[in-house]
């Protein structure tokens, strides 16, 4: 298990091993939703707010 820094509050976020690009991780400290931008090394960024739609 690796760690990365929360871009919102700076706290360490624990990352599981089978991390995938695009996955959304919740920061345990501030609750921010963080998107996995890269996996090796892990890079996190704030996950975009996206409106849910009623589909195509």
């Amino acid at each position: 298990m690796t760690q990365a820094e929360c871009v919102e509050c700076g706290a360490e976020v624990s990352l599981h091993d089978d991390l995938e690009v695009g996955e959304i991780i919740d920061c345990g400290t501030c609750g921010a939703e963080l998107e996995v931008i890269d996996v090796s090394p892990p890079v996190l960024d704030r996950a975009p707010e996206l409106e849910e739609d009623w589909g195509e």
């Binding site: 995938e20 695009g22 996955e23 959304i24 939703e33 998107e35 996950a47 975009p48 996206l50 849910e52 739609d53 009623w54 589909g55 195509e56």
Partner: protein, 278 residues
Amino acid sequence: MAVSDADSEDPPVVVKVGGAKAVDPAGAIGDVADLVAAGRSVVVVHGGSTAVDDTLDRLGIEPEYVESASGVTGRFTDAETMEVFEMVMAGKLNTELVADLRSAGVDAVGLSGVDGGLLSGPRKSAVRVVEGGKKKIRRGDHSGKPESVNDDLLRGLTADGYVPVVSPPMAGRERDGGVTPVNTDADRAAAAIAGALDAELVLLTDVSGVYADPEDSETLIESVSTPAEFEALEDAAQGFMGKKVMAAEEALSGGSPLVVVADANADDPIVDALSGGG
């Protein structure tokens, strides 16, 4: 069902014909010809997702469906799928429907939502999905919903006696100002156009309407006129009919005086719908 909002004297009519199987409903084509002959302005909107799926299959491309956090399933439209979508919707189905209408004496002109920025809105390229229990951001989607309608283009064509025949895709606005063709729901497109033209909207489907109890054909909801009745209608709507109801709501709030969901397989489906028989 007929949702009545206001009286009006011969407003334009927007007719949404169904997907692939219902894209050439002889009854609807004859009805459009009759309405035009009677002096009504008519705009036809069509979809055709199942024809897109057929062509994806012939090309060996697997259609991808993704699930949202709230459990709604939607199509994910990557670049390759978008290309097929353009080919089938704006190429094959639109051209063939225009030819069928012209054979029936209707002076039809086909347009996609990209043409003249007819249906424009921001491109949605990232979607939140749930895959294997994980929340994810999927990028590279080609979808959007119309935030503006170029009603001047449609008014200009109908004033000159043409019947615009409109299909997805729509004009997706990129952050850099560029335009990308993107997938959009055809019912919603029809609703946006009806709202922009203050037009009556007829949504033709393979079924006859919304049923209070979908298992019981006696419980067809024929019309609603109060918010409470509308809420009961919403509760009753299920599956794809739910999208018809949301499209109806968007059209009415956009300015449409009347929305009818009607059976495409009737003899004179549009004329019957407009005379209240929907």
